[in-house]
Point group: D3
Chain length 320, copies 6
């Protein structure tokens, strides 16, 4: 029997399932007893949980956050549903069907990755090909590359999002590169493949999405450049030298791909290839963000709510 999703729970139901517990707090009731307030979550949302007959020991053992198996019952309190929890047992994260808890691309990851490999295989420059192959040969990294989200909240913020974003950018680049014959296609394709690789070290996405300490202090842009140079040094260790000019051209694409200082790029695009990667990145990110905001809006208004980062509402009504 499948997981009972938070988004499907109605009032008065018996609950006996695994949820992600978040931000538990221990509080005294007005009678002096102790209870635990917490959020219970999965990928469909979260709900208030209350365990009334709690103890300091139960509270201390709770993962913060982490997975617990609860038994209890849903009820309406002050017009909101909450879960009254009677029993709690800790669940090992390894035994959880993680896809119930983390949003995930609806696309076939294997197919996407195969197509990514197919497109970067068209790179003709030997050094760039060698560099890209060195990334592809790093199985641990590629596993992360295929599962890492594309971001925390703005776009592709789901398991597999980094891959999906990179895949779609590569497809878009393949489609429009023939229109701009002066642009060096090899640099664009290799640059896209590596540009967000540092997100695999910037983000954690085992139980929920968050930043690593290192990710917050350093950021994925610098991390991607560091990974590029590390791969080049590994190759150098094998006697394969990558020219500094190649590393600088790809490094520049990575550093400038946010397009403005304000968005965390320490360099502005200074090559045609850097401009192209920057625009394709922004286009693909915005298309993902905008179409999902439009689809995700509930209700039948013609407009979504105000979207602060876009400084506008979005219009949802289609023609015809």
């Amino acid at each position: 029997m499948g997981h009972k999703f938070i988004g499907e729970i109605g009032p008065g139901e018996t609950i006996d399932d695994i949820y992600l517990v978040k931000e538990p707090v221990l509080r005294p009731t007005s009678r002096g007893d102790l209870y635990i307030a917490m959020f219970l979550a999965d990928k469909t949302g979260q709900m208030n949980g209350r365990m009334w007959q709690a103890s300091e020991q139960i509270y201390r053992e709770l993962p913060k956050p982490g997975f617990i198996h609860i038994q209890g019952r849903s009820e309406v309190y002050q017009n909101n549903l909450q879960i009254v929890v009677n029993n709690i047992s800790i669940v090992d994260a390894g035994k959880v069907k993680i896809e119930d808890f983390l949003a995930r691309t609806d696309k076939d990851v294997d197919k996407l990755f195969a197509e990514v490999k197919r497109i970067v295989a068209t790179i003709k420059n030997k050094q760039l090909k060698t560099l890209v192959d060195e990334f592809l040969a790093d199985e641990g990294l590629m596993k992360k590359f295929c599962s890492c989200p594309g971001g925390m909240s703005m776009h592709h913020d789901y398991i597999g999002g980094l891959l999906e974003h990179t895949w779609n950018m590569l497809r878009a680049a393949s489609a429009i590169l023939p229109l701009y014959p002066d642009v060096q296609a090899d640099l664009v394709l290799a640059g896209i493949f590596i540009h967000d690789m540092g997100k695999t070290e910037e983000l954690i996405y085992d139980t929920a999405f968050s930043y690593t300490d290192s990710g917050q202090l350093i950021g994925h842009i610098t991390k991607s450049v560091l990974m590029l140079h590390k791969k080049a040094e590994v190759l150098a260790g094998k006697g394969v030298q990558i020219d500094g000019a190649i590393l600088d051209a790809i490094g520049h694409i990575i550093l400038s791909h946010h397009g403005e200082y304000e968005f965390g790029s320490p360099k502005l695009p200074a090559t045609a290839e850097a401009f192209m990667v920057c625009y394709i990145d922004d286009l693909d990110a915005k298309m993902n963000q905008v179409t999902r905001l439009i689809e995700g809006e509930t209700g039948d208004s013609n407009w979504t709510g105000w979207q602060k980062p876009l400084e506008t509402k979005l219009y949802r009504k289609r023609i015809e």
Copy 2:
């Protein structure tokens, strides 16, 4: 025998040809005589001209600017070449081979326009198709559309530039629309076709490129929307009604296609289609601008000069 281009004149040459005269001024010499200082120009550049034995009458008759046939000689003065003009006769603009004077797309305008028509013919929505066809049926407008520059200086600033820019945007849109199935392709294609149509009223490009008064006061964005509504009213006069929702969707794409208030858009993109047109417009403009700046740089430095609107120099060296 062809035109002697400004860019090809060396010192000590006899000159007997037609040039565009610009900013002529009448001045006294130290001996009290009058002379005319002017610029003589064609599409390859401009040079100082001096007519030493001038009179108020000659000065008054000069077009400002316009075409003149001059006889004279090139000489070096203070390390710069200038033309000493002995004789001037006014030339009717109609008798001038205008392509010697105005930079022009190196592409085949007829082919480009045919391809534009082929792409917009894929629009399925009847009202949008009708609207686009009404524009296409306006021969006078289409003639301007095929010759108008795409801008004054930043990108596609040559005869046929508007067509080339629109054509390339339509090609790019056709290439990437399949990647974004939620985006309404008909709106994107019609929006691209019409988005800069107002430039035909904003710019003059008969002898040199400049803004019309109306263009400076109103701008091509508002003018494009006015043209859209005028076409709809003409259709209404024929009994063909275009829904307000269609006009608003296209109007919104036009108004928001500069992407930021700071760039003259009175509305920010609020539909997926408006975002896509905005990005394709910016990408195509920047690719044109950047590749031409890189190619146009003389000398063998790896870098172009400082590009103020891009806040950077551009790197010219290719890999390999």
Copy 3:
């Protein structure tokens, strides 16, 4: 007997009156029954309403938003007043005394409109006079012009606000134009009269104030220019030609009257007349906004709360 205003309801009162219902939602109680939560509003404010014994059918029939006649009782719940609704019947908007529901200028609309006509009658330029008269002759439009609010929230946000704002701007212009004899008074007066006319299409104000879809996509600035050109075409149809230079001069005033790109003007003021209209508009808007914020503040603090768009609190204490 008059309407019982929301702002006058105390605890424990019997309610039997018409209110605007907004954002009704159907929810289950903890016992599994259904109830409707809603806002009940008039021009003095809004209050929570609860109908406990509700059904899907009642919910479906509710206007969202719209007018309903309710029977019920006010009570205090968690320190706030709410209305417990026992009975609901839908009310046709046409039968409602709309001024109970929408804030309205406290000035005499007929007098204001008469004074507007009197001031624009001083325009001497024939074409401008003809244009203005064409607007004045459009009875449907003038009716909207006299009732439309001046905005959604910042200033003159009440029925008749557009007229009051235009009227006061015309009065201010008449007062200061003599101080600036180089400024073309006809353009200033005609420009003020038309500058916000597009708000009649941008805003809905039948039951509450909101934007039309078209208003949000296109904006009142562009709409005002479109209306200007439409009137010119109607006149052309009657054989009366308005010069392009006149339309551009007024069009430029309209387009630039917000004064900065950031505020949605696609053109910056480039004529003395455009600057003057821009300043008078801003002055009159701010005076309305500031004096109403100062008056509207409850309590006896010397300062209003923080006014985000003004980046300051406002000081309320008067001298003497």
Copy 4:
């Protein structure tokens, strides 16, 4: 016989007149002799001057800047007029007809000042009236107030400009205050009268317009507030107490009258009166600046040159 204005000198004229000498430098000729290069100026412009047989002593005695009587001759050198100076004698500034050298309002200063006094005499609040009268009674200050320019370059940059600007603002305020009955007219009028008074200490305008050291370090805004408090202390010394609330209300108008931090106001307007003074100040400044730029443009183009502070060209063509 009147002064020979720089703007009227043609080639080959004998010069025997007083000019303002600016930025003189002593340089060696190629033969090793010394010459002085300098600018010779009056209110109509400036011209290069050269004294070929110069000495260190002559150079040292030259005022930098200051007035000199020169004898010499105009000639054309490299297409520009210059004056070859044969003889120089220093002229005492007190003996110079200063109006030949400094641009000056074309209005009647006495009339303007009388009207200023007439308008501020309408102030009813006793303390404000006392304060204003204390300023008016300061003859030295009022003399400066009547001669000081309104600024260095942007608007009213001529002798009497501060008075003209203050006078016109007072007239504009008188004209529109009746439209805004909630605004405290006394504060507005007194605030306008004092708002730029510090310019009398910020600017020097004896021989040319420049900033005082103190003006550059402190600025006229702070200086106006210091003058306000100094007058209040002088009154206190006479036993007349001005309330702190009065000083704060006027002080706030002065501090905030530039309207934005970016323009040097350390406080943003927080009272209706401060907003009104700020708008009237900006309106009057812009009207002066714009109409003078339009009139001052030579040539018959419909547009002035690019106006950097306004981010636009200005359109000069009038309707009709």
Copy 5:
């Protein structure tokens, strides 16, 4: 027996102590009775208070804000602690141990002030020394200087904060001035001593921290300059003249010490001394703000919450 701090109250305790009452409101219960809702506060935080059997008279007599002695009991209501108040008596502010209510520097104020005096005593310039001594001799002002907070919220926002900030800036200046021998140390030290003196008039801190009306209208920067000039005039009254150049140099340091127009400085730093004071001010403020935010964060996360003015979270984990 000491004060029972808000931060130490648990559920079910009997309360009989003095608290600061803030924002009391009188409301009807659902039964029609009246009750008073209020906040009860001291320097450790605030809690909701409810007096159920209230009357209009009790409400009217309450200070708003001010000190009251209450008798009552703490209880949990909707998961939050609140105090049910049975009895209220007004307490005179003079009889309150104010340090229980206002946060206060943990440093020894006398020692700090002694060290301040010791450092400014190193000033060698006679006029600057005289000026500083005139401030030091003003006992009333120095008492305020030693107790005034350094700000409302950002840094040094506690009693004695202004002194602590000034003291630490003087120490930092003393430490680094030897590294910059071209910088005039006397100006830096005197400038630091006076730069925020106006805060003593900008802030009230008798019962809670808030701005004075005058402080909000004028600001501490301008007030500091006014105080500087007032001291100079007092000295002038005693026959001791301070040069305008000295007042301008110090005045400029005060006016520019926020470093940017956006932060309320009407002048940008234009002397080495002004730059140095500006940097030391910002450094000391940020060190105070950042280290206190890091220490003050509860919980064991490696990061503080989002700090809006710093546009980042702060990292709390130390190395080792």
Copy 6:
């Protein structure tokens, strides 16, 4: 005999010395002959040079830029000194006394470097000490560190400037760290030592100051982080592991030390240590820039010219 400095050449002198030739161009004279125009430079400035009887071969052999020995004579042409060059011979850069051509710190580099080593030797954390020692042990890098300029133009733009700037920052940090005991001194000192190390790869300064291609594409901030990681990997190769947390803490200081995105920092300071390094860096840079601008200004005006990056003139007059 010493070098004849450009700044010391007067008119009519015989020149027989080595200069840096910059931007040579070959041009035809009006008689059809060829001449070479060039700049001749050393650290005191540059002067126009003309070789009249030139040939394509001479031109081709010229270094662009590089050192040449010239024979010729100085003369005044159009009021400027220029050098007429009769003979040119190429000079090997290795044989040139480079300090005649590049501005250089006036401090003792060995002493400065010794003091740098002395200060970083106070670092107690073992890993940080190991890291810093690894940098110090890299003789090639340290040689560059001691000679590299601190920048291209803004501050410390001379040979040894990077060392002088780092040295002075370390001294300032040592002086103020005792005032902020919560700040981790080891991180501050190590962070300062490494923060600009990437400038050794960003800048070329063999004959003149310029950016490397790699420097322009990647920037010194990212390069410093890459060098940090490279040193850590070298240590790892020796079996000495540096914790990721240490690398992140130093990496964060480097990335954020420009303090704002706009200045090229991809991360804003998020630790007390990063804030301190950022402020000390800015303070030391500004003190160097401001005091040198004030000293470098010629003439006796109280003000320097307008300093665009500082948005002000600088006041040069000292008190007393």
